[in-house]
């Protein structure tokens, strides 16, 4: 398996881990020495030896925990940088599958975190440990080291054999568990429909039978997995037993080793096997985490939109030369030339689904034409959308955009006849507007959106159905205002109402992949 880490850091990790394991071996060395003295009744300087034990053990603790802290923080940093890349991926298209984006940051990246913070450091540390222990043992007791070397390959070999057998099956089960979990979650989410259709019983039955089947099959697979752990345990015991036998034989029969060697070997041998087992289990966890990473990657690899395609033109508000617009595979506008004037109201009409909003977005810089040259007079374009959506803010902050004074905000509100209804609110212009809880009517919301653009009108203003929710009086008010404004600004508006055509200077109709001049 690939390790997602810079070579530089791999080296650094290996160095820290090496130092740490060496300290542990030194601790074992002094512990064995002192125990030899105790058991064999030799006289040594106890205080000094105990200090060595303590010092090396403490050094081991410090380096080992430093390693853990450092590698975890490094991993968290990596995760943060992936999160930042994901955040940078958010654009105008994200709204369509917002859940995928949000889940990739909050769920899948989170499941992947342990790969960076646990898996990678553990794999490196454990590998170092295995190598160093076997190396140390060659110095202490070559026979024991040979036994370890001989039995060790059985562990990875066994993993490979069993792993091959169960991997696909267990992956499938993991996916199935996810699916049952997902069905459960989206049943919870859609419980209203379950309630409204009185289908609670059939749904509960489905959930229960799903789970029963799942438990049955999973336990079948887990049986294999646990059996393999058991076999590993046996191999380990066999190895340790062999080492113990070797040590005992050499002590009693050949009398060729001392207590120090015997104890040291018995202290290190289990560490060696444990390390191998850890490698095995971590590989499994690592595989699962990589599954989540794939889902993160699929979001990261999505094509980003280009927002730097517009050229500038001095003569027109918008100038299009052979511009073609596509929506996915579908062409909504064949290569077309058009020019919108720097002043006056340009109205665009057409049936829904013909690509009017796509055209507006391409002017705003959010939808790159698939071919042709699109130029704008300025990139500073005001936009009044047809969506009733607000980020959490206050009326004042929303309109002022951090610049305009309170007087100016009140002035524009007065102009759009919003003052009365806003004065009636508890905190006036400082009333919070929170999505789904906006204390204003539909028509007031539209005017609020306009106020934001009109307080300091840019040279070009793009509007999507500006009078959609207005009654006749306010519609007239807005129209008067736009009539005034268009004398010095370019207003490009998608409209659905004949009424507005009265004040339009140009009229285009969009439909059948074309943009044609319409009736006036």
């Amino acid at each position: 398996m690939k390790i997602n880490l810079d070579k530089k850091y791999v080296l650094l990790y290996v160095v820290i881990a090496t130092v740490s394991v060496c300290f542990y071996i030194a601790f074992g060395h002094y512990l064995s020495l002192i125990l030899e003295a105790i058991v064999m009744g030799e006289t040594i300087n106890f205080t000094q030896s105990l200090i060595y034990i303590a010092v090396f053990f403490i050094l081991f603790i410090i380096t080992d925990k430093l390693y853990k802290l450092y590698t975890t923080m490094k991993g968290n940093q990596r995760i943060e940088s992936i999160a930042n890349s994901l955040i940078s991926k958010i654009d105008v298209k994200s709204r369509r599958d917002s859940e995928t984006m949000i889940n990739s940051i909050m769920v899948h990246l989170e499941s992947y975190r342990s790969y960076e913070t646990v898996f990678v450091p553990t794999i490196l540390k454990t590998t170092v440990k295995v190598v160093l222990i076997i190396g140390a043992l060659f110095f202490i007791d070559a026979y024991a080291a040979l036994i370890l070397l001989f039995t060790a390959p059985f562990i990875p070999l066994y993993y490979v054999l069993v792993g091959l057998q169960t991997r696909d099956e267990s992956m499938r089960q993991a996916t199935r568990f996810d699916n049952i979990g997902t069905l459960f979650l989206n049943l919870i989410r859609g419980k209203d429909t379950v309630k409204n259709t009185q289908s609670e019983q059939s749904v509960t039955k489905r959930l229960e039978s799903d789970n029963e089947g799942f438990v049955k099959e999973t336990m079948h697979i887990l049986k294999y997995a646990f059996q393999s752990t058991m076999m590993l345990e046996f191999i380990t015991i066999l190895g340790i037993g062999l080492v113990a036998l070797e040590v005992a034989l050499r002590i009693i029969i050949f009398q060729s080793i001392d207590f120090y060697t015997a104890f040291f070997v018995l202290l290190l041998a289990p560490e060696f096997y444990n390390a191998l087992k850890v490698l095995g289990t971590e590989f499994h966890n690592g595989k699962l985490a990589m599954g989540s990473y794939d889902r993160v990657l699929s979001v990261l690899n999505q094509e980003s939109i280009n927002t730097h395609y517009r050229q500038t033109t001095a003569g027109y508000a918008v100038l299009a030369e052979q511009v073609q617009l596509n929506h996915g595979d579908k062409t909504v506008l064949d290569p077309t030339d058009f020019a919108f004037n720097k002043t006056g109201l340009t109205a665009i009409t057409g049936e829904s689904g013909t690509g009017k909003s796509t055209l507006l977005r391409s002017i705003l810089g959010l939808h790159e034409p698939s071919q042709g040259k699109l130029s704008v007079y300025t990139e500073d374009i005001g936009y009044v959308s047809d969506q009733v959506y607000f980020s959490d803010t206050t009326i004042y902050d929303y309109i002022a955009k951090g610049q305009a004074s309170e007087e100016k905000v009140l002035e524009i509100l007065e102009k759009l006849r919003l003052s009365d209804s806003i004065d009636n609110l508890e905190s006036g212009i400082h009333t919070p507007i929170v999505n789904h809880n906006i204390p204003l009517s539909g028509g007031e919301i539209v005017r609020l959106k306009m106020a934001r653009v009109l307080i300091d009108p840019p040279a070009i203003i793009v509007m999507d159905e500006p009078t959609e929710f207005l009654d006749a009086t306010t519609e007239q008010l807005v129209m008067d205002h736009l009539n005034q404004l268009k004398k010095q600004h370019a207003i490009i508006a998608v409209i659905h109402r004949r009424q507005l055509l009265k004040i339009a200077d140009e009229h285009y109709v969009m439909g059948e992949r074309s943009l044609k001049r319409g009736e006036r």
Binding site: I61, S94, R96, L183, N186, G190, V203, A244, L364, S441
Partner: protein
């Protein structure tokens, strides 16, 4: 909790017994090997050493086997428990009024259930096993020396009682903080995604991105803090281990030197057994809260459903808000009448409709349509609750025949809004109630499909429809005009259209549209 382990109680019992045996045997292996080498130097009979090694191996086999059985039992118990918890949670959730549509709500629920999955296998069970092993070792240590008893008891008390208690305080706080920053991250992400075009046009995307990154930094800081706590736990426990080793050497080197290697190896393997338990054990409180949250939290404030759809003087506001969304709404709706509710977006139509949906037993199409990760057929028949006769015909009728009945659909982003509307309409047709309550039934449909859907709708005796689509206004009996949470005009369609007023005006505007 335990009630969800019904039939598995005996499994739990066995797995604890097996866990204790396995742990003890594991410790014994180390102790015995330590004793063996010490003994070897004093020329024991050779068969004794062979015997010890044989015992060690046998213990090893026992340990492996018990661990195998214990893991089977504990996992089986956990999976069954999770299954029951889910079913119970689902039942309660159907009865409650909680709005479960938010992505964040579902994310939180996922985390809760993941943590609960660990509740038994990683938190409670290993702790119980560790406590038992500690107790048994304490008793056994009495054979060697009362001082050893004190050491083991002291160590166990420190590691299994004091440390989890202290850490659980810290981990509860950091857990809450973690949830807070995740909530914040979620709502900021949500706003950024849904308000993107506006933020882009006022040049605020960079600023918003920076805010998001700052919020993510909180999560990283929290993770780092968590690992610092982990490291502190491990350093503390290792220092305690060192103290215990040095203590044993100093205390026993003169009195019973032959036992020192054994005691040290036993202690070291004992530590290896209980140190990993500390952190999970300290999570007990926090996870217990989760368990309580999914087993008891929702309250049932469900009203009785009835066939009477009339409302009188209904005023409504969402919890934790200051403004009435519906003000003094009275509606008289009798069987056989077809009513339409019109008004601009944000006027309260959906809220009003949801109030009606809650109290009625009619066939309903709410604003938010639910689909599930299952086949088209299961989605249409609600997993078999509705009769599936002529489902295929209906799919063809509403131009959905590109879906096969056994096609697997996922709840999210698989169907377009227009497809969802039509799929749900088929559900209503299969359900075959005489009264329908519908929220924007023709939104996102082309003219041809719109007319088809309206035709089906008007076949029903009793109707309440909220809509922007006024193309069939004149086919209704009664119209109610909603503005800012109030009904400002109400009456029979003919009367209301015969004089000027908001409905007349809206209708004219509708006909004026291009």
């Amino acid at each position: 909790m335990m009630m969800f382990l019904k039939g598995e109680k005996i499994h739990v019992f066995y797995s604890i017994v097996l866990g204790v045996i396995g742990g003890l045997v594991g410790t014994a292996i180390f102790g015995l090997s330590g004793y063996m080498i010490a003994l070897s130097f004093f020329e024991p009979p050779f068969f004794l050493i062979i015997l010890i090694i044989a015992v060690i191996k046998m213990f090893g086999l026992t340990k492996g086997t018990t661990k195998y059985l214990e893991r089977l039992l504990s996992h089986d118990a956990t999976f069954k428990m999770i299954g029951r918890l889910r079913a119970a949670y689902f039942k309660r959730s159907v009865e409650s009024n909680q709005d479960t549509h938010s992505v964040r709500y579902i994310q939180k629920l996922t985390t809760y259930f993941n943590e609960i999955e660990d509740y038994y296998v990683r938190i409670i069970y290993p702790y119980i096993v560790a406590v038992f092993i500690a107790l048994i070792l304490t008793v056994l240590s009495l054979i060697v020396d009362p001082i050893l008893l004190m050491i083991i008891l002291g160590v166990s008390f420190l590691l299994l009682v004091i440390m989890p208690l202290i850490i659980s305080r810290i981990s509860r706080v950091s857990n809450d903080r973690r949830l807070d920053s995740e909530d914040r991250l979620f709502s900021r992400l949500y706003h950024y995604i849904f308000d993107y075009v506006n933020l882009y046009t006022v040049n605020e995307t960079e600023q918003t991105k920076d805010n998001l990154r700052a919020t993510y930094k909180e999560i990283t800081a929290n993770e780092n803090k968590e690992s610092q706590v982990d490291v502190v736990i491990e350093v503390m426990s290792l220092l305690i281990q060192l103290a215990a080793i040095i203590g044993v050497i100093l205390l026993f080197k003169d009195e019973s030197p032959l036992l020192v290697p054994m005691i040290i190896l036993v202690l070291m393997s004992f530590f290896e057994l209980i140190i990993p338990v500390i952190k999970p054990a300290s999570k007990y409180g926090a996870v217990k809260d989760r368990v309580n949250a999914v087993t008891t939290e929702q309250v049932n404030i469900e009203r009785e459903r009835s066939d009477d759809l009339s409302l009188s003087q209904l005023t409504f506001r969402y919890p934790e808000t200051k403004r009435d969304v519906l003000k003094d709404i009275s509606l008289e709706i009798n069987e056989g009448e077809q009513h339409v509710i019109i008004g601009s977006s944000g006027s309260g139509k959906t809220t009003l409709l949801n109030q009606l949906i809650k109290k009625s037993s009619a066939g309903v199409m709410p604003q938010h349509l639910d689909f599930y990760n299952a086949t088209v057929e299961e989605n249409l028949t609600m997993f078999g609750a509705l009769d599936k006769i002529n489902a295929i015909e209906q799919l063809r009728e509403y131009e959905l025949n590109h879906f096969a009945l056994n096609e697997y659909i996922t709840s999210n982003e698989y169907l377009s809004l227009g497809e969802k509307k039509r799929m749900h309409l088929i559900r209503l047709i299969l359900e075959d109630k005489s009264t329908w309550i519908l929220d924007e039934p023709t939104a996102s449909l082309n003219t041809r499909l719109r007319d088809k859907v309206w035709k089906t709708i008007f076949n029903k005796d009793t109707l309440i429809v909220a809509t922007h689509d006024l193309s069939h206004l004149e086919s209704f009996d009664f119209v109610h005009y909603l503005e800012n949470g109030k009904i400002i005009e109400s009456g029979s369609v003919d009367t209301v259209l015969s004089h000027s007023g908001p409905t007349r005006e809206a209708y004219d505007r509708y006909k004026d549209s291009l």
